[in-house]
Amino acid sequence: MLDFFLGHYAYWFTVILLCIGVYGILFKKNLIKKTIGLAILQISVVLYFVSIASKWDATVPVLNPDFPADQVANYLNPLPHTLMLTAIVVGVATLGVAFTLLLAIYNRYETLDEEELIEKLQ
């Protein structure tokens, strides 16, 4: 039972974070709140990829002469780390694009609330 819990609690908390992000996107009216929800959802996906790359009793993927590289159980898997490293940097660039669109909307309609925005659009 404890073994089952230790093997799966990381996945459960990742699912909870993802649901918080989806809730923020769907049910919040302010556009900045929606952007915060988007960031939380993105980071939760990154967390899932990092957590499946982990091994018990393994060191970080920097070569150490004390641990031979022939036994692959000594080191973590470096491939998901690399993919998520680029995903975070691209994420902040696309977040900048989202902020740009927010500023453009505010310059034209003087509001960021969703319902007021729909009223002004009609």
Binding site: V15, W56, V62, V72, N77, L79, V97
Partner: protein, 91 residues
Amino acid sequence: MFAGILIFAASDLPYRGDPDNLMHAEESITGTTVKGNYFIKNAYRDTRTPNMVTVVLGDYRSIDTFGEQVVIYTAGLITLLVLRKTRRRRA
């Protein structure tokens, strides 16, 4: 309910941190080789660099990294173009 379905699905995933997982195996179930172990074994021998993440980022998957760099460059140009146009209309 959405969370319940996802948690039930996540309970069927393999145990976290087990070195015998399918992801860390030598061969996948379709018969092809998994590249993660190849990176661990050959990174220092190929490039004399101890940090494996740097080797995978800069050497083995360098065309991927070039694509990422073009993407962030495009994002910077989008901010330049969009904000310049809206500010000029307002003024």
